[in-house]
């Protein structure tokens, strides 16, 4: 096929709609992670959290037959995970890097174990998935409509949560406390904030976002559970947080760029490898590395990120 004759409006609309579709779950996960990182906890366990969320979402979906229940079960799964993670991050005061990394391996093992325990060798049933839900009126807007407003509803929820998170982080007392604790826990403690408690909320929100993102994958994108269902999307979400400079609105754009690169790689495969697919696949990670190293403007991470806080 000739690429250039296909670069019309329809190509762009299809491509960008796919970009939004792929951006959805990682955006949701990164929103949660922003809360944690703003409070000073780097939750590398996000990848495992997504996996556990996806598993609980899948199991609840097939047993209840309801995609809605399944989607939210992902969030519940995430909250269960947050009990474990916040214990290690905040009570045991262990290295956040170690805990997160080890948890990802644990989650990988647990997910396979539970899956083979419950489903076994049976053909794995598919779940009812959400269909695209066109928004009345908005979907009529040229270009924007078909790209953004003809998607499954968890995407609209995620977009709403972006606005909510932006407001919470920068215009509420809770957001201020969260940022204070992540910037300088000692000073925040001196000012009377309960550092561990606020960080616990950060970790919980991160796991809630990750769990829901897992639910999103199952109920709105794949409809199945596989061991490799998450396949690095938790790490992409971490990258989005960095690329989006720890701000929800910027994370929205970052997620969209990542999704666009991913979707472009899928559609370019139709055109006889003009560019190796791996270049586009690696692009988001390369951009993140460049963003972190200050090549694309200066990136300042929360001051106390990855530093456990010990009173006294």
């Amino acid at each position: 096929m000739n690429l250039w004759s296909h670069l019309d409006a329809a190509f762009f609309i299809t491509w960008l709609a796919a970009a939004v579709r792929l951006a959805g779950p990682v955006l949701l996960a990164s929103l949660g992670e922003i809360y944690a990182e703003r409070s000073g906890v780097l939750n590398i366990g996000l990848e495992g959290t997504l996996l556990m969320g996806a598993l609980s979402s899948y199991l609840v979906s097939i047993y209840s037959g309801s995609a809605v229940l399944g989607f939210f079960a992902g969030g519940v799964g995430g909250l269960v995970v947050s009990l474990l993670l916040s214990f290690f991050y905040l009570r045991a005061l262990a290295s956040q890097v170690v805990v997160g990394m080890v948890f990802n391996i644990l989650a990988g093992g647990l997910a396979t174990y539970i899956y083979s325990l419950v489903i076994g060798d049976k053909m794995s049933p598919t779940v009812d998935m959400f269909n695209a839900l066109p928004v009345p009126l908005l979907q009529k807007i040229p270009y924007i409509g078909p790209i953004f407003f003809n998607q499954p509803w968890p995407l609209y929820l995620t977009l709403g949560l972006v606005v909510l998170a932006q407001w919470v982080l920068f215009h509420t007392r809770f957001g201020l406390s969260l940022r204070a604790v992540g910037e300088n826990p000692k000073a925040a403690h001196a000012a009377g904030l309960n550092v561990q408690r606020i960080r616990t909320y950060g970790v919980m929100l991160s796991c809630l976002g990750g769990g829901l993102a897992g639910g999103y994958l199952v109920t709105a994108q794949i409809g199945l559970f596989r061991d490799n269902i998450v396949s690095g999307q938790g790490f992409i979400a971490l990258a989005i947080v960095i690329f989006g400079r720890w701000s929800p609105l910027k994370a929205l754009f970052a997620a969209f760029i990542f999704g666009a690169a991913d979707a472009l790689q899928l559609s370019l495969q139709l055109f006889n490898n003009i560019l190796p697919a791996q270049v586009l696949l690696a692009l988001p990670y390369l951009l993140t590395i460049l963003a972190m190293s200050g090549v694309i403007g200066k990136t300042v991470q929360p001051g106390a990120l990855t530093q456990p806080y010990r009173k006294d």
Binding site: L42, I44, F87, F88, R91, A92, A94, S95, V97, V98, V99, M101, V102, F103, N104, I105, L106, G108, G109, L110, A111, T112, Y113, S116, L117, G232, F235, L238, A239, I242, P276, Q278, V279, L281, A282, Y285, L286, T288, I289, M292, S293, G294, V295, T299, Q301, L305, T306
Partner: protein, 373 residues
Amino acid sequence: MKSLLEKRAVPADSSLASGGITVLALLLAFIIAGVLFIPFGANPFTAFIELFSEAFGSLRGFGQTLVQAIPLILIAQATIVIWRSGMGYIGFEGCFTIGAAAASWVALGGTPQGMWIMLPLWAFWPIVLVVAFMAGALWAGIVGIMRVRFGGNDVLISLMANYVAAFLVQYLVSGPMRAVGDLPQTPLLPMQSWLPFIMHGSRAHMGLLIALICSLLVWVLIRKTPIGYEMIVSGMNAKAARYGGINVIRRQMLAVFLGGGMAALAGLCMVLGVQHRLMDGLSGGVGFVGVIVALLARLNPLVVIPTAILYGGLQVGGSAMQRESGLPTSVIFILESLVVLLILAGDILRYYRLRWPGRGRPSVAEAASETQS
């Protein structure tokens, strides 16, 4: 206030305390993993006996265990060097992959068409070792430079770099280095480039020697040399080290360089010793399990060796159990990660002692707080 945990006046820092916690964690992890076998209708005791006799009971099995342990040892040593000097680098999957690719490239005579296919054997080994080592060292070194020059977060950058490396190799095996055929992989490497087997009747290969030499070098480096001492001091307190006249940046760069190189040698051992060709997804998470091994050995280069052999054995026994009785291998991953998590949880006991409410006399700390109030 009556609480279950009571702060110790002084943290229990003896090697007895940390050793005890490790043993307890191992025991508890095995008990939990054993319970996980029960729903599959297996007796945990026989399952574990089967596991260990498979991994350690025969020469063939033990050889396989050593094969699994080789990359774990190398990556664990890399972790020790880098982490002890104060960096949080976790990009060993990437270094492994890059090292595997570099080694395959040399073994295939610098594809395409094998430019130096005539390379004499005596020249091949030093060249392949150096090229793989340097490739991994530079790969990790980039992350190091970004951290020391621009202040980026080494944990996150190295995590992202893992994916770049994975896609790079995916590109190589589906493009420039691809063999004719359906699968995205290189041709079989020439037999002369395979690491020789070292034990008759087992698949253990010369990579073991590479791993042991690296272990010895790391031990000498951090225990016996001034440079290693400076690395450790940089890791413990960079500010104090700088004040003491140590060039912290240079020491950390050196550590990342050495670590990246050793992790790349793990990749070399995998392609030249086991797979004999480069393919996508070669590492299978060994870059992370290697870090776990280092943690379990409490970043001690000599303890790493038995620990890696234990973990290698778990992997071998686990897959054998799955083949024979259908028990899921994933229990092994659960076991492996639980050990570390339990040790971390157990560390609480070094700072706090357990006390049941209403028993025992009040501790020093409690008595002090009562006299104050």
